[in-house]
């Protein structure tokens, strides 16, 4: 799958709609304004995204994974460097005392935050591209980026990557939302995006 600039822009528009919905839901949850922005969508290889996370000093990352199946099968992952995920949970929970690590309960909170974001973004894709999905419950994974992304599969496989910036109480947290797609799903998605652009023209 190689998406044109216009197709990537259309996807960014769809994703941003979902991200906006998620920001509202997270603000209600946190009791204060949560700003979310997703500046751009990129097609990257698993190797590139792993290197990008490693460049942020993230030896270990924390990811919320959800599977979506239907005409398009994808695994959606929201990934943060571990220290950023700790800060995010701390800000959402409103705990003053710094967290040293994610306990079982805090992992569950992170799963809920990821669930809200992933469901909103995929709902937006489903509504606008007219694709029906079935979803799974979120799972939290901790480990090296390469392990979480199963890079042993193929380092050069293309994935859709979306940088997500959280802003809560003047604190900025950066994460990545990635969609792992198989070849057949990539083709279907490409056709759906083309149909979406055509419907706008």
């Amino acid at each position: 799958m190689t998406l044109t600039e216009m197709e990537l822009d259309a996807l960014a528009e769809i994703f941003n709609h979902g991200v906006g919905q998620a920001a509202l839901a997270l603000s209600e949850l946190a009791g204060e304004e949560v700003r979310l922005s997703a500046p751009r969508v990129e097609e990257m290889s698993r190797r590139d995204i792993t290197e990008k996370l490693n460049a942020q000093g993230a030896n270990r990352i924390c990811a919320v994974r959800q599977g979506f199946s239907g005409a398009v099968n994808t695994e959606a992952l929201l990934m943060f460097p571990v220290d950023q995920s700790l800060q995010l949970v701390q800000l959402m929970v409103g705990d003053d005392f710094p967290l040293a690590q994610l306990s079982e309960m805090e992992q569950e909170s992170l799963a809920e935050i990821g669930n809200i974001l992933l469901n909103s973004v995929v709902s937006s894709v489903a509504d606008m591209l007219h694709i029906e999905f079935e979803g799974t419950l979120p799972q939290v994974e901790l480990g090296q980026a390469s392990e979480v992304l199963h890079t042993e599969a193929n380092l050069d496989d293309l994935i859709l990557s979306l940088q997500i910036n959280f802003e809560i109480a003047s604190r900025k947290i950066q994460g990545y939302l990635v969609f792992l797609l198989d070849v057949a799903s990539s083709d279907v998605l490409e056709k759906k995006i083309a149909a979406f652009i055509e419907s706008l023209q």
Partner: protein, 259 residues
């Protein structure tokens, strides 16, 4: 034994043991139809809600549990039923949405069970087969886990006090100051001028608090100290570390707090 499942649409197609399994599952199961009416609730849930199957089956969820109206749970449920995607509600962010208590305990607010909730709506394939979207709500009692984590955190706090509080003076030691400065400088680089929180360990030990405040200008420090705090001594210093091209000011302050 009648779980209420026999009121469902096609009981004759279900294996005999399925009713028994659902009835005896050790977490709460509630099945809703597309109109948010309760189709089935298992024994675990009914016992802890102190309700009978006859009182809940066929009733609208929000009428049976008015406490859920307008809250996060209702919003999450409506969204899940509309999108068809499962949702999770963690106990940290929503401790006890349902009014569930231990079967033998008192029914007061502070004895409500801590709940981890999964909302699982049927996907498109199952909806086509069932003729409507049913939604399963699964409630797990995580009260023992919460109690265990609270205990472990209390132990960790005590261990931290032992490492960070000087045994003779009973105020923060050198390690405490070094670590606090590192944390505060990192925080300040993200949000200059933000008010720092006094370390809990020092407040608990004495009623006195040790503050480390950082800002990109000295004048910001004065505005950051709350009025409820009486400053005992304050040592202003300028750090050689720079944030955004400016020196970082940090003050070590011993104060008495009213809170």
């Amino acid at each position: 034994m009648n779980s209420g499942l026999s009121n469902g649409s096609s009981p004759s197609t279900l294996p005999v043991w399925l009713d028994w399994v659902l009835y005896n599952t050790q977490s709460g199961l509630v099945l809703l139809d597309a109109d948010m009416r309760i189709v089935f609730a298992n024994k675990w849930f009914l016992l802890r809600a102190r309700l009978l199957a006859e009182q809940v089956n066929g009733g609208a969820l929000l009428d049976v549990f008015p406490v859920l109206k307008g809250g996060h749970f209702e919003r999450a449920l409506v969204k899940a039923m509309r999108s068809g995607f499962p949702a999770l509600m963690s106990q940290t962010l929503h401790p006890s949405p349902f009014p569930l208590c231990a079967p033998a305990g008192p029914r007061v607010n502070d004895s409500l069970l801590r709940q981890s909730i999964h909302i699982v709506p049927m996907g498109p394939t199952d909806v086509a087969a069932a003729g409507q979207r049913y939604t399963l709500i699964q409630i797990t009692d995580v009260s023992p886990t919460v109690a265990r984590e609270r205990l472990l955190k209390a132990h960790a706090d005590r261990m931290s006090d032992l490492v960070h509080i000087d045994a003779l003076m009973e105020i923060g030691n050198r390690r405490f100051f070094d670590e606090s400065i590192a944390v505060r400088v990192a925080t300040q680089q993200q949000a200059p001028g933000r008010r720092c929180v006094p370390p809990a360990a020092a407040v608990r030990s004495w009623g006195w608090s040790c503050w480390i405040l950082t800002a990109s200008s000295s004048s910001m420090i004065s505005t950051a100290i709350p009025r409820e705090t009486v400053v005992y001594r304050r040592w202003p210093m300028c750090s050689s570390r720079y944030a955004a091209g400016r020196a970082i000011w940090w003050h070590v302050m011993v104060a008495k707090s009213w809170w």
